[in-house]
Each structure stands twice: as structure tokens, then as C-alpha cells.
């Protein structure tokens, strides 16, 4: 095999790897719905919940623990669990009065855990209205022992309440942007090389790289919009990062329009090479600085952490980073094909037509 194919096949293999493992590895268990969502302090309630990625038909109900977790760090353990179906159960809670709390509603997180599936949680699952009393039963001071939190066995991805299975899009949507940025950087590098050497080969490489980077950017916007529709609620919500990445692509559209509007080859190459370098210089603040200055729905912007915690845990990194490398290599391959085509075209044009 020709050695020039090694990195190309590596790129394809890494993308294939991210498809196979990104789709096959299961999510951790989660809780998708609870009812009721609000109750009064002091009541005994039956909290019905629907779990995800569990099979209660195979396990003993007495093995399931459920408890409500408060910000104060105290828990209320469910007295009993009644399994309703393979993924639904009732948790019976005797709620504390919470009379010492001066809040209209106290929010609590529902945690369920069993030895077979591990734990699952739903933040802000149940709101409790504290009941004012003479203080004979002071609610949260009743501290139950925290039951065992069972570990989720095997390799799995985090379960995030709004994302659910779409957390997998991290391996398909995000690497498009990583690859786009690298390809634009290579394009700017070729433009700088052109300005130094004045060889049309570098100029054509710069166009080819910028072109496929733009394709990846458009796909990034498109896939982001599909993802946003079912998580943020709308295809386009004028999120700051949606906006700045669209502006960055418009800057590159102008690059191609500029190229097609100058007839003279050398003049076109000189003019657009300078423009391409400035376009890349604009890309950095548009994608990395401006989105951090204001509120954003994107993780990693407006003070939200990204690349850490439950949004990208250790298991996800094992799929995400290979996908990034794979998309960069595939992008380089396609860009080079286009550049080679442009170079042959130029050579033949110079020889025969003119």
C-alpha cells in the first residue's frame, strides 16, 4: 500500500470508530418523568417515576432505593418502592414539615439506585411547600442515613436530562467545528505562503482548504440546528455562538465572492490571500472570545464549564478526541483532492487555452 494512504485511512478508521462506539455504548440509567411535581410538607406521598435504561422486571423491588436530596445535604429515604412496570415505579415518601425553612417551595433531587443498574437522578424532581407548625416535628433535622449509591457497571455515557441520547451528537456535531477551524488555519497558512513565494500552487491549496472548511461549517450549523430543535426547543434561537459562527461563515462566503469577482489570476491571488489571513484572524475572536462574554446556551460559554464534568466525562473523551482527529484528517484529504484538481486544471489551462 502506498504510504500516502496511511493517514487518510487512519482518518476514516477514527470516524468509523466514533460511529460504532459512539452509537453502541449505552447511556447510564436516568429518570425521565415524575408525578406529582409538587407536594406539601408533612404529607405521605406516592411519587411515580419513569426511569430510563433500567429493567425492573428482572429485580426485586426491595433492592431498589429511592431518596430525595436537598441542597442542605440531607436526604429522605423512601419507605417503600412499588414497581409498576419494567421502567416505572412508585416511591412512597413521608415528607418532613420543613417548618424551619423560610421558603415558599423547597426543591429536591430524586435519586434512585439499585445494585443491578446503578444510580439515576433527576434534579428539581419534587418541590415541597413547607408547613408552618408549632415546631414539634422539625422537618429536615430528621436525618436519615444515606443509603448505598450503587455504581453503574460497565462502560457507559452520562445521562443528561434534556440531552438524553443526543449527548452522542458531541461526537458528530462538535468535531465538524474542530476540523473546520484547523482547515481554515491551514488555508491561512497557505495564503501566507503564497504572499511570500508568489506560487499559484499555494494559492490553490488555500482555496481548496477554505472551501471544504466552509462545507464543514455549514454542516456544523445544520447539525447544531437539528440538535437544538429537540433540546433548546428551536432550530435557531439567536444564541451568541450560533450567531458568531454564522457571521464567521459569512466572512468566508465573502472570500469566495471576492475570488470570483477578480478576473486577473495574480491580482486575485494576492488580494484574496490577504483577505483570507484577516478572515482567519476574525475567526478566533468570533468563535473563542465573543461567545464567552455573554450568556449562551452552548456549554463552555457565558460562564458554563465545558470539556469537563458530566458534559464530557472520561468515557466520552475516548470517543470524542479520536472523532476530532478523524474529521481533521478526512477534511485534509478532501481538501487536498480539491487542490490537486485545481492545480491540474490550472496547468492545462496555462498550456492549451491561453
Amino acid at each position: 500500500m502506498n504510504s500516502s494512504y496511511i493517514w487518510k485511512f487512519l482518518g476514516v478508521a477514527l470516524i468509523l470508530y466514533s460511529l460504532v462506539f459512539g452509537l453502541l455504548i449505552p447511556l447510564k440509567p436516568g429518570i425521565v418523568a415524575v408525578s406529582p411535581s409538587i407536594a406539601n410538607g408533612g404529607d405521605t406521598i406516592s411519587l411515580a417515576y419513569t426511569a430510563y435504561n433500567v429493567d425492573y422486571s428482572a429485580i426485586d423491588a426491595s433492592k431498589i432505593n429511592a431518596w430525595l436530596l436537598f441542597d442542605e445535604g440531607k436526604d429522605i429515604l423512601a419507605d417503600k418502592i412499588e414497581v409498576l412496570s419494567a421502567n416505572e415505579a412508585n416511591a412512597i415518601f413521608r415528607l418532613p414539615l420543613l417548618s424551619e425553612l423560610d421558603q415558599s417551595v423547597v426543591s429536591s433531587t430524586l435519586v434512585v439506585s439499585d445494585p443491578q443498574h446503578g444510580y439515576a437522578l433527576l434534579p428539581s424532581a419534587l418541590g415541597i411547600r413547607p408547613k408552618k407548625s408549632n415546631g414539634s416535628l422539625s422537618g429536615l433535622s430528621i436525618k436519615y442515613d444515606t443509603p448505598d449509591v450503587h455504581k453503574v457497571k460497565g462502560v457507559s455515557f452520562p445521562f443528561r436530562n434534556i440531552l438524553q441520547e443526543t449527548i452522542r451528537n458531541t461526537y458528530y456535531h462538535v468535531p465538524l467545528w474542530f476540523s473546520m477551524i484547523i482547515l481554515f488555519a491551514i488555508s491561512a497558512f497557505y495564503s501566507a505562503t503564497y504572499l511570500r513565494r508568489r506560487d499559484s500552487r499555494s494559492d490553490l491549496y488555500a482555496v481548496a482548504y477554505a472551501e471544504f472548511a466552509t462545507v464543514l461549517g455549514i454542516l456544523g450549523l445544520l447539525t447544531g440546528a437539528i440538535w437544538a430543535r429537540f433540546t433548546w426547543g428551536a432550530f435557531w434561537s439567536w444564541d451568541i455562538k450560533q450567531f458568531t459562527s454564522a457571521v464567521a461563515l459569512l466572512i468566508y462566503f465573502a472570500y469566495f465572492i471576492l475570488r470570483s469577482s477578480v478576473a486577473d489570476q495574480d491580482k486575485r491571488a494576492r488580494l484574496t490571500s490577504s483577505y483570507n489571513i484577516f478572515a482567519f484572524a476574525m475567526l478566533i475572536p468570533l468563535l473563542f472570545i465573543v461567545p464567552r462574554l455573554t450568556d449562551s446556551l452552548h456549554p463552555g460559554n457565558g460562564g458554563n464549564p465545558a470539556m469537563g464534568g458530566e458534559d464530557l466525562d472520561q468515557t466520552m473523551r475516548w470517543v470524542f478526541y479520536p472523532a476530532v482527529v478523524g474529521w481533521i484528517l478526512l477534511g485534509m484529504w478532501v481538501s487536498q483532492l480539491k487542490a490537486r484538481y485545481l492545480i491540474i486544471q490550472r496547468k492545462i489551462e496555462d498550456k492549451f487555452i491561453i
Binding site: L163, Q164, E165, N169, Y172, I226, W227, K338, F352
Partner: protein
């Protein structure tokens, strides 16, 4: 329609995203293929002349 995407933990959204990327790549390749074909047709005699 909405249900297709949201059922089984919003798995349909992941499939839609992968399909969009694949379709986008194919569109790019078809356009490149057509450019090369057009160009080949124009230069049939010259290229090998």
C-alpha cells in the same frame, strides 16, 4: 413527525445529525464530480493533444 425524533431517548435526533453530515458530504462530492466531468468534456481534445 415529532415523535420519531423524541421516542427512545431522542435517538432519532442523533440519526438525523449523522444523516445530515453524510448527505452534506455527498452533495460536496457530487458537485466536485460534476465540475471535473464538465471540465473533462471541454478539454477532450486538448488534454491528450
Amino acid at each position: 413527525m415529532e415523535e420519531i425524533f423524541v421516542q427512545s431517548g431522542k435517538m432519532g435526533v442523533v440519526i438525523a445529525v449523522i444523516a445530515a453530515i453524510f448527505i452534506g458530504l455527498v452533495i460536496y462530492l457530487v458537485r466536485l464530480d460534476r465540475k471535473i466531468s464538465q471540465w473533462e468534456d471541454q478539454n477532450k481534445t486538448n488534454t491528450y493533444g
